[in-house]
């Protein structure tokens, strides 16, 4: 039977791991390579690393870092942050990553998604869509770490990414980021139902039950989270953790 992936999403800032709340309030949560070692021991399905400042600072996620993760990780991992050229992708893949995550560039240069899918295969190209709803404003996709609106509805962004050959979409609710209040299931479902490629839910998962709901009610093919896998308890003490297969009872 098919079992959805459960994916820790780890945010990188100045060489350390951080966790955000609604894309702000960066809390330091530790050393990334140490986290990879713990996720190895816990048999995590897959990891995603995002350098959250890279696009705004017009630079690529450090390749030394990707190489260090590649040396350590026993599971597939995807890497995003500041990717702009095919050469960037080639270097990240040869450093050991299985997939790249395109965010800002997917909105600013949609043709690039097509070129990347053609050159490296669709299953290597993941597009991440960050979604925010402004008070009285409409829900739309944002880029550059949530600082610039695209004017595109998330479903539309997703359809365009699919049409250009993306193999997977991460749909991230900025409003739920770090809140651990559960996914925006309505958003996840609308995007998942709009495309025929896998959709990964991200933003808000606070319990194993939220992960199950992301798949059962949100129709996500895989479920991802940040806070859930780096914090423990009501005071949000830092503790890298990952549920065993029996703890996440997908239907």
């Amino acid at each position: 039977m098919f079992r959805p992936r459960v994916i820790p999403v780890l945010l990188l800032r100045q060489g350390g791991l951080v966790k955000t709340v609604r894309f702000g309030r960066h809390a330091y949560v530790g050393d990334p390579i140490n986290a990879v070692r713990i996720f190895n021991q816990l048999d995590a399905d897959e990891l995603v690393f995002l350098d959250i400042r890279a696009s705004r600072e017009k630079r690529l996620i450090p390749l030394d870092f990707v190489r260090d993760v590649g040396e350590e990780a026993n599971m597939p991992f995807a890497v995003g942050g500041g990717i702009r050229t095919l050469e960037d992708i080639r270097r990240i893949l040869s450093a050991g990553a299985e997939k790249v995550v395109l965010g800002t560039v997917a909105a600013q240069d949609p043709g690039f998604v097509a070129e990347a899918a053609e050159a490296f295969g669709s299953s290597t190209i993941t597009v991440c869509i960050d979604v925010k709803k402004k008070l009285f404003g409409r829900e739309q996709a944002w880029v550059l770490s949530g600082t610039r609106p695209t004017g595109l509805a998330p479903e539309e962004f997703a359809r365009r990414a699919e049409a250009r050959g993306a193999g997977e979409i991460i749909i991230q609710s900025m409003d739920r980021d770090g809140t651990m209040q559960g996914y925006d299931l309505d958003l996840v479902r609308r995007v998942a139902d709009a495309v025929t490629i896998p959709v990964v839910a991200l933003g808000g998962a606070g319990t194993a039950a939220d992960l199950v709901r992301g798949h059962a009610e949100g129709h996500a093919t895989a479920v991802a989270a940040g806070s859930l896998f780096v914090f423990q308890g009501p005071r949000r003490g830092v503790l890298i953790n990952y549920p065993g297969r029996s703890e996440v009872a997908f239907e």
Partner: protein, 205 residues
């Protein structure tokens, strides 16, 4: 020490395959040199990406003859992984090109009716059903889950070649075994303990 050669045909990252074999005690050589392939005592043909491009690359590196010689004439054990296994087939819809033709099979794209439920690529963990004992079959742990990432799958002309089957939108061969020719659609190198067990089995053949 028998040489295990991981064939580098320029598509995708071989890092994780190499690392996984090291974890189970092998000392693989990663190369695109036909001479090394022709002298190998055990071969791994990995691969992600596009079928047509992979065949082009094999040709470009002059690897087809060396592979045919090792696998068909010298009967060296070969393990194809994901696209690497698909290359064993006669033909693929992906690029509509001929494969190595080592097994009687075609490669077709997933045809999905229920598109809300079954997304393509098939990406995630899935179970397998064993269809015959096989030599590799003895190395399978109980009720294993393996990691899949693919949009195309095999259709075997000879059901006797099918070692494992998996169901996702349809039931397809997730592993084949024909003499010294072994192939898995999933990624043992990313499938934790179950995958490592299978790689150990391949090394023991």
């Amino acid at each position: 020490m028998s040489t295990l050669v991981i064939v580098d045909h320029g598509t995708g990252n071989l890092h994780s395959v190499e690392k996984a074999f090291r974890r189970v005690g092998a000392d693989p050589v990663v190369t695109s040199d036909p001479a090394r392939v022709a002298a190998a005592e055990r071969l791994v043909l990995p691969g992600v990406g596009h079928f047509g491009q992979a065949m082009d690359n094999l040709k470009k590196h002059g690897l087809i003859e060396a592979l045919d010689d090792s696998v068909l004439r010298r009967k060296v054990p070969v393990l194809g992984i994901c696209l690497g296994m698909q290359l064993f087939a006669r033909r693929s819809e992906e690029g509509d090109v001929a494969g190595l033709g080592w097994i009687d099979a075609q490669v077709v794209r997933f045809e999905v009716q229920d598109t809300l439920r079954y997304k393509v690529p098939h990406m995630g963990w899935n179970s397998v059903q064993q269809k015959k004992p096989g030599r590799l079959g003895a190395w399978l742990p109980a009720a294993p889950l393996f990691y899949f990432a693919h949009s195309y799958h095999l259709v075997c002309g000879d059901e006797g070649d099918v070692l494992l089957e998996t169901t996702y939108a349809c039931t397809f061969p997730s592993a084949v075994e024909r003499g010294n020719i072994l192939g898995v659609q999933f990624h043992p190198e990313k499938s934790h303990a179950a995958g490592e067990q299978l790689l150990r089995g391949f090394l023991a053949l």
